[in-house]
Symmetry: C2
Subunit: 699 residues, 2 copies
Amino acid sequence: MITRISKLRRTFFVALFCCCCCFLIPVGADEGMWLFEQPPTQQVKEKYGFELTPEWLQHVQQSSIRFARRGSASFVSSQGLIMTNHHVGARNLHELSTPENNLLENGFYAKTFADELPCEGLEILVPVSSEDVTEKVNAAVTPKMSAEEAQKARNSVIAAIEKEAADKTKLRCEVTTLYQGGVYRLYNYKIYNDIRLVWAPEQNIAAFGGDPDNYEYPRYCVDCSLFRAYEDGKPAKIEHFLKWSTDGVKDGELVFVSGFPGRTERSYTREHLEFQRDIYFPQRLQKLYRREVIYSAFSSRSLENQRRIADDLGAVQNYRKRAIGQLQGLRTPSLWKNLPQSISLTSQNQWSKEQWSKTSSPEEKIFNACLLASQGRYFAYDFFELGEAFNSQTFKIARMLVRLAYETEKPNSERLKEYRDGNLESLKQTLFADTPIYEDIEILKLTDSLNHVRDAYGGTWGNWVPVLDFDLSPKEYATELILRSKVRDIAERKRIAEEGINAVKYSGDPMIQLALRLEPFAKKYREAYENEVEAPMTEAYAELAKKRFEKLGTSVYPDATFTLRLSYGAVKSYKEDDGTDVPPITTIAGMFDRAEKQKFKEPFDPPKSWKDGKEKLNPNTAFNLVTTNDIIGGNSGSPLINTKGEVVGLAFDGNIYSLSNNFVYTELQSRCVSVHADVIVESLRKIYGADRIADELGK
Amino acid sequence: MITRISKLRRTFFVALFCCCCCFLIPVGADEGMWLFEQPPTQQVKEKYGFELTPEWLQHVQQSSIRFARRGSASFVSSQGLIMTNHHVGARNLHELSTPENNLLENGFYAKTFADELPCEGLEILVPVSSEDVTEKVNAAVTPKMSAEEAQKARNSVIAAIEKEAADKTKLRCEVTTLYQGGVYRLYNYKIYNDIRLVWAPEQNIAAFGGDPDNYEYPRYCVDCSLFRAYEDGKPAKIEHFLKWSTDGVKDGELVFVSGFPGRTERSYTREHLEFQRDIYFPQRLQKLYRREVIYSAFSSRSLENQRRIADDLGAVQNYRKRAIGQLQGLRTPSLWKNLPQSISLTSQNQWSKEQWSKTSSPEEKIFNACLLASQGRYFAYDFFELGEAFNSQTFKIARMLVRLAYETEKPNSERLKEYRDGNLESLKQTLFADTPIYEDIEILKLTDSLNHVRDAYGGTWGNWVPVLDFDLSPKEYATELILRSKVRDIAERKRIAEEGINAVKYSGDPMIQLALRLEPFAKKYREAYENEVEAPMTEAYAELAKKRFEKLGTSVYPDATFTLRLSYGAVKSYKEDDGTDVPPITTIAGMFDRAEKQKFKEPFDPPKSWKDGKEKLNPNTAFNLVTTNDIIGGNSGSPLINTKGEVVGLAFDGNIYSLSNNFVYTELQSRCVSVHADVIVESLRKIYGADRIADELGK
């Protein structure tokens, strides 16, 4: 599935490198995550002969929904019916489940309005209007200000703009930075916070094919769930919603995706991409490979193990698959042909010992930062500051307790940023969260990550981390640290947090002691990374962005920022590398065929309702389809829309080739994968007896 | 399971480093794989108060069997009944299976002698006598001879000794080099080659717990199968066989393992072990981790994939588990305390750029060879000469065709050794073998290994392998090489092999062209490795061995060489690292308990016969047990023997801590895992209705 925005935020490294701004678009490719305010009118007209009118755009924009911080959605009836992905709504299904009825497993259907289940804490945001506030923001900055003062002034005027707008409109108002500071835009969102669950199919058909088929195609998933917005206890009356198409959708047809793509890095320089290809992804994959094997071997030893490590294993598999897909993209020479030329170092041995140049252009600064990262700055930072060398909840908690004690003694402005007053509450929420921690899994993970450090540094690892106990093997040491630490007890955590420095300093807890001894090294590696890699890179990308924006302005689309975007494309097959053509649209018969070939073994076992109801279903009903739309994580749950502004599908995934979309879009094989509108209605009527809803959809 | 000797031979790297000779034994540990001619009489007497008499030794020796080239076995009745592991006999079960009856799955029991199934091509070897021929061998060498001439002279006198002995005794006579040339010993084996299958349980109980429980404990496996030796069409009359114990075996009891351990490397210097710990195993594991993930993801996508990649995946998992176990041993400081001091470099950054010393002791030569290996000599050799960069059958075949053409044009003595006349027949057998090769799996493996090369060399890989096509991604290139190559067609292979150089040189086959372009690089890396790493190391270890043998002689045991050895030990529990005590002996009730907890899911699903027969079984019957015996791959199928010379069990595995036995034995946690004799008889009688055989065993 497309990673939800919450997952996306965990990709620490890519996320730490700043992203920005704007691109040269190869003529004719269906590229771009366009602002509704600067739509690709000309491109669509030239390629598809269709005119994007202001009315069409406004209607689609106001039918689009940001679903919490998780993904995208849309209104699909005048009575507030909301369509999103099953995997986007999964958290609510989980929260609404009882020991007797697991809604993820069993699905859910509310026969009447009264049966619709309120989802506590869930809110959706509808972008009703927006406004360019670039001038207002920039007016706050004077030429005499330092970079830091300028940022402060901008933050302060942005806060004022947001407050003023909110007071006036009673909407949620957010200023978003676009084009790396080229444009500031105020978005006004109408909030609905009485959201109720209407219908969700069983997990086994929503995610038919499970992890193995994730990012693959052909697919057969009803990755859909329906909610409803209420106002004043009644179904909300909605003016702008997407009607259900009566004509289906055909091969080659023009379609749009309207949603909230999370993040792209399409301004990366060639050298930065080479670094990603040659250093970053190979190192990241090394970690993911070993973890997947270790977790998977543990999982296979018992059902109890399997249940307890399932989330960790699933996350690692998802990351691994994405990393392989991204790396595959970066290693495809045709991808590089679509990149703008920057300085070219490809013929050199670019990761050699010497810096390439001292005084330098932004591209050279970026190259030098990558070079330093490749020479161990990132390794040390990742292992010892981000804590990947001590992969365990126990270490994370001990580290937080140590830093909480020492940092909160300092004036607010001198603290590490995550310990400043504004962040303390959410930090404490994490610190005191009562989530289960399993000793054996903690030992397993810590052993592996200690081994990983030793693998990475060989015989020299003692020089890097002279704080560890070398009289024990990684496994013995991990066992001792985990079993003897008391921080998994929440009361103990609270006691230490309250007592502060002394409770930490004189603690007999071996993990706290380790975190304490580690501090000077961790901070040293953090500073080196932030000052020598991160800061110069941020600065260089800002320079680049400024130059490009001055030249191209808003004629190109900005990087994705989890604000509403429009992407255009067509239903279109593609060739696998081995020459196989994939069908642009799959069918219900295809799903049953795949299930049968896999002998209905998990995850290829459709739910009982489908097996029992097979005869009632039209086997030729369209199931999933691929289109050339340019999408990325965050787009999950976006409606697939035809030229009439009607729903023809529901985006839920990208194929393996789409995974490099964060760097560059290539139309040849990259595809958006959607649930076809037809299979949703067919199953609502024939499997779930949900005629009430199918009627409401108008089909 | 303990790796069979055939698998063991595949561990190319460890195996390429020479091994040798003799050790200092810490007082009191149950260490050693002793020659029957130099038994640990004194050690056993001191620790256990038991006297190993010549009669006891002769009886056990002549009851012991080498089972083909695969493992160990023993005679357990006067009528030629042979006991070995199920996994050692598995190949025969496979060969005897029919489309209607898979003997691995269903098991087998011959109700009468007439039903016993002849195993074509299977032979067993019984070591009936042996003789020290060191003087005769050394007499052939004069001081004036060069090293090469001396080796030639030795080989020639060894051949003569073997021939003379064979003519005289009508036995299979083999001279084995022990103590790295300190001793030459002639072994005379009686051969039986009419071997018939008597009984084998179902795979599901023979390997209960499957791969997940491999190398783990507690265990519940009836890893046993029974064969019978025939002579002149009748059951062989056997004088020396092991009686079945009537008393079982108790916690703490002294037991022996008599069998054929394959290979150990207990003379490795500290520096060599540091190299293994810091460089070799981490690199090896990187490869295994990524392959396991790639194969496993492929496997999960369909049952068809699962079936086709099962062997590859199983092999990788087995290697991975062993490598992790060995590395864990090497990273346990207590293991190093048991090592003899050689030069100590541990406080230095030993894998730095400079050679440590130019003129040097054997230890220093070994260190320098390791150093060169760590600086890329091994990587390049492994990738381009051993072909790991092009992991596919298609490449292996293409490479063989290229070399066959060019090498056989040369005089025999100038060829690469695997292409000399003596090796050509077996090479051609491999080259023309009709084993299934799957295009999609070939592409999968080749893509991954091409990616691995790129990961390893980063942006500089073009410098290492300027023969590759850089206009394609690894996946595109792999796809093209595999799909366009014709060498998977055996007729095509034969045509090329017959036509020789021209057929290769002017071939349009892209894989043959690649192999051809690669040749100069591959050979360069091979020479560098052989001359700068392998040869100095072999020479240095021979020097070391000579010194040690002069000092200690045969008072210590020699490295394992797949000749008969005796190991002593006791039934003994151990503590896991987390402090858990394991039970020294498991029971039938324990097996059913584990199965139930895993909801009888594969591989924790005992066969129907056991589930149906559960009520008949005595739940307290002993199942598997752990002992302190010093064992290694090749010992699979060895009998576990009490002081009366009776069978009390059947060795089939070592626990995870035993995996470092190839480097050093530590008694604390390293354990041999055996099937208890009782569960064999209990199941023979109550599950398999095999009273005939239980009676024959005398119980």
